[in-house]
Symmetry: C2
Subunit: 467 residues, 2 copies
């Protein structure tokens, strides 16, 4: 029997919690109409009932006892917004045990325990919704699960940390240095007082766990990702990058390097290759199994990278986020928007709530991919392929370029771009961009260069992402 | 009882039809797993069984008799890809009568008869899926319906015609003239041999009918949209626009101009305005009705416009499409990708097919917004607000700027930018950009200018979209 009112328990009333209350008030008529029921917040878990709050909620809704929510049979859905892993995990597990649907914006929890919690939810005939855990208000989880569901995802590439993107944009467009840009980000509330989690790429890597898990149908742990932060990026690198036609972005990249059986095709025309046409005619039915989805190896990384200014991700500026996805049918698509903020994040939470309420009232079977995770292998760091950007100081003397070229050549690394401006006091600043190369070869070349007497200092090494 | 195999009838085996067959073969294992059933194409309607085809399908699947598909009780879903309005309408109506779910990529049909067909589908407990009718492979329909479902959509702004975007990009980035760019678009298959439908904005306006109907929950007819094509755009305009920091794009814009009751708020912080905080405390419950969704008036238009180069839509190049959406919670989001092509479009069709199969097997209640269309008023063309760009030839003599400024000033139009380069043979080319103004005032100012003796020729008038 469809419920006319669905009661919700809210765990946490911080920025996002207040945003959710506010959005439910602001657009109540539309939200209730789309959910097909009246949504009512019955209880809100807080740490301190007396604290003055932004959100205008009736005091009698507040409680400090989680069990008042988790064990209330009248509550069908809980929204977990307390953050952190341990406590949230305990509450969500208990909520599932009490047959409640779960909505969470908890990135750390979904990155570390998401697969297990989703499996538990499925076992109970419930679901966990987590659109808000990555990318704030940008629709990412639902499009990956549903809209792109017919695609084998080949690559995802995201700007999914607003703090670092804000800093890099300020450095690039306004010529600001790193420290000033960071201070401004902190002043504007885009960066925490201890910004390590953002700057070192940890935040982006957790988000990549969630997105890559979904995109590639696999369990991804933080440890499976090669992570490097934006520390050490210098104003000069940003300047040279622009001169060469690149922006510098902190990118989270996931790729499935397909097994060799997958055949080539042209996504624009859909023209079948000869070998596939053969297999089609043999099979005799339009829907028979053609070339299948062979599990590939996953290459997962978070690092700053030079990206051509013509790439759609290069125009994602300041605190904005975006995810660029390459599917084997759709080609390239991108999702762009505000990656954080009270109301944008609430937009995702309440979209999940509408879905949850519809599912409660219509007993929809839940979860289409999460419990299907397949074990996949990961590509070790040394076997990743990238082009590289280097900035170095060398003695301005004959033969320096030759010795550089030799060092690279001996390891099979070829050069794509070279830039040298006027030298000062006998020292020239040289910028090099290599063609794409396996990391282990590049590292060997780097070792050779560092031993070259004419090279005084190696200032920067950054990866270059071509497309 | 869940069906292990769901049989599908395909109407049409052109480019997209072939793409659908190909995608069902290519990713069959994954598609069937996500659908929860084996998907099988049982019959394909074609006009000529003997024609040689790209798609490798068994000849026995082909039929020239639509009734073989529409009346086959074993077929649960039809995919309509024949295009055109009349025949497709007849087939879809008949399919619904025979209790079949419908998937269509038919933009013209959904724009002109979508609301009625969706109502009929709902009445029958079925659904019509039409993700592929707009934006090819880009997820647009599903995000508007679900991911952004908690938002009151304030504005949608799209580059939804690949042909015109290709031509304008070639003119802007490669300095090509209009005719050469059009010829190249035709040679590459991005433009039809008769390109009027694209160039005049008709194609974009049909797509706007569908998107605006969904975004603003209203029935939108082609006649409700103010349409202007890209004819007459000159290489000089593209050049000046770039100099002033703009790109020129054919934009499809829909806005809901809210009733005055809606209160101001800051989407980034979610800070409540004073009046709303009051209404909240009166209501006493977090989920009670706050400021409600009052129906506003819709302003709908398709026209070329100058757009700041920093706008996310400005970097949508060549044949790509994108939709920029502003919601009252999420703020600004954008969806980007290939707006056409066999496999991208098939990606959307098969995503719909997965949904349809899941709905067939789990008896989900269907359609959440389409049957809720509310009647809304439309803003007449004269009452739209835009800034304007003008290019004109004037005698190079004292007092010309003064007479221009006077003509504008008398109608309350203020100027934002003025550009004049060296004059040739006593004639100066002048470029003006106005501040935002109501169209009827601008038109009166234009009338005054055309009567000014020093103005020899008015070359171009284009709208400027600020944000």
């Amino acid at each position: 029997m469809a419920k006319k009112t669905v009661q919700v328990g809210l765990l946490g009333l911080g920025t996002v919690g207040a945003g959710v209350c506010r959005l439910l008030q602001m657009n109540s008529e539309q939200i209730n109409r789309r959910a097909g029921a009246r949504i009512e917040i019955k209880k809100i878990l807080v740490r301190d009932k007396k604290r003055k709050r932004e959100a205008a909620v009736a005091p009698q809704l507040l409680t400090t006892d989680p069990q008042e929510i988790l064990r209330d049979p009248a509550i069908d859905v809980i929204i977990e917004l307390i953050g952190g892993v341990q406590e949230a995990h305990t509450h969500i597990t208990e909520a599932l045990r009490h047959k409640k649907f779960v909505i969470t914006a908890n990135k750390d929890l979904m990155a570390t325990a998401g697969a297990d919690l989703l499996a538990l939810a499925r076992e109970k005939g419930l679901n966990i919704y987590y659109e808000a855990s990555v990318g704030g208000g940008i629709p990412l989880i639902r499009p990956l699960k549903y809209s792109l569901g017919a695609n084998r995802i080949e690559r995802i590439m995201g700007i999914i940390n607003g703090t670092t993107n804000y800093i890099l944009t300020k450095m690039s467009l306004e010529g600001m240095d790193f420290d000033t840009a960071l201070a401004e980000a902190q002043a504007k509330g885009f960066a925490e007082q201890d910004p390590a989690n953002d700057l070192e790429g940890t935040d982006a890597a957790y988000k990549l766990c969630i997105l890559a898990g979904l995109a590639f149908n696999s369990r991804v742990r933080f440890e499976d990702i090669h992570v490097q932060g934006i520390g050490g990026i210098n104003q000069r690198d940003v300047f040279y990058a622009r001169e060469l036609g690149f922006g510098i972005k902190l990118l989270a990249i996931g790729e499935e390097i397909a097994a060799p059986a997958a055949a080539a095709f042209d996504p624009a025309t859909g023209a079948a290759s000869a070998s596939e046409a053969e297999s089609d005619s043999r099979s005799g039915s339009a829907a028979s199994s053609g070339p299948s989805t062979l599990p590939g190896r996953l290459a997962l990384r978070v690092h700053p990278a030079l990206l051509p200014l013509t790439h759609p991700l290069a125009s994602v500026l300041y605190e904005n986020n975006a995810l660029f996805v390459v599917g084997n049918a759709v080609g390239e698509v991108m999702f762009y928007g505000a990656g954080a903020g009270a109301l944008p994040t609430a937009s995702s939470v309440v979209a999940d709530l509408i879905d949850a309420v519809r599912n409660i009232n219509h007993e929809v079977e839940n979860g289409i991919m999460e419990a299907d995770f397949q074990p996949k292998k990961f590509v070790p760091k040394e076997a990743l392929f990238s082009a590289f950007y280097l900035r170095l100081q060398a003695k301005d003397e004959p033969g320096v370029f030759a010795s550089l070229a030799t060092a690279f050549g001996q390891e099979g690394v070829s050069l794509d771009m070279i830039l040298q401006k006027r030298s000062i006091a006998g020292i020239a600043e040289i910028v090099l961009v290599t063609h794409e190369v396996e990391e282990k070869n590049f590292n060997r070349a780097l070792g050779r260069i560092q031993k070259t007497p004419a090279i005084k200092e190696l200032n920067s090494v950054l990866r270059v992402i071509g497309k």
